[in-house]
Symmetry: C2
Subunit: 186 residues, 2 copies
């Protein structure tokens, strides 16, 4: 089977390394080794170096994760079932990957928040896109969308630290309780 | 005014650096510079080096943050007011510190989750202590405690990325809705 183009292999390898060991912990040598690419190809495809590469990876991972989550969401018949499916799916992925495969951008987002303004803005762009997509599905309830996304993101932190899916299921139940509360009010 | 003992200065400086730039991004040279301590004092007080230092910082920051949050929590008359106070306090701190001063251990927790099993266990210990303390205050409802802590942790991620307290207030309202839902059931 032909290998994917070098540029794509570099993006995929970087995304995988960021997810597991973060931005600061990921050196460019590790990226080219993981991507099975010559070192020179990195600066050929990403003349802006690690920061440019990181920006593209954050955007691409953000879009990929959003598509994945929305596919699970949109398959369900009711809002409560949709929200439940997202948290259940996240718990299953965590378990299947030994708690390595969580939010693709959270680690990097925390690392760069106070240290790299350009990359912080890219993570903000991704989180805003997710919030907009969920807000639309919650009939414009941006407040609840932010609450549910917070629960999901925080559950990733707790689940990875504890090697347990218990926080994810609990966060999912809190999110569903929030949906039901919104319904009672509206 | 006398300076604090060297060991304490090193712990405080490391906690501050971890919070802003994470574990991997914090070198021991930066620690001694920030602590105004001679380099040799670091290995004198922490013969296990960066890992030992990090373990002590995670434990100490975890205990400090827990005490701070519980003080805000225990001041209020009702569970809903207590939960609201925690999220409002977190939002105020984020704003006052230009979104730098958030959960003291989240960045490190994500960085070490798949890369350093000893430190992962220390973060797990801290999150478990927080969960236990909140569970006790919620009449044994561990599920809701995990949900609320998830919302708090995730809101820190979103607020820092977006430079906005909107996710924290939204997460707080979701947490309160969850408390009210629990009350209706019980």
């Amino acid at each position: 089977m032909d290998k994917a183009p070098t540029r794509d292999r570099i993006l995929v390898a970087t995304a995988e390394l960021f997810r597991r060991q973060g931005y600061t912990g990921t050196g460019l040598k590790a990226v080219v080794a993981e991507a099975d690419a010559p070192f020179g190809s990195l600066y050929h495809h990403f003349p802006g170096g690690k920061q440019q590469l990181a920006g593209e990876v954050i955007r691409a991972s953000g879009a990929f994760f959003q598509a994945l989550v929305l596919a699970a969401y949109d398959e369900q018949a009711t809002t409560a079932e949709s929200v439940r499916a997202v948290f259940t799916g996240a718990a299953e992925t965590l378990e299947a990957t030994d708690y390595a495969d969580a939010c693709p951008i959270a680690t990097v987002a925390l690392e760069v928040a106070s240290t790299d303004e350009i990359l912080r803005l890219v993570t903000a762009e991704v989180f805003t896109a997710w919030t907009d997509a969920l807000t639309e599905r919650l009939a414009g309830d941006r407040d609840r969308a932010f609450g549910i996304l917070s629960a999901l993101e925080g559950a990733f932190v707790l689940c990875r630290a504890l090697c347990s899916t218990e926080p994810m299921h609990a966060a999912g139940r809190l999110a569903v309780a929030g949906i039901e509360a919104s319904r009672r009010i509206s």
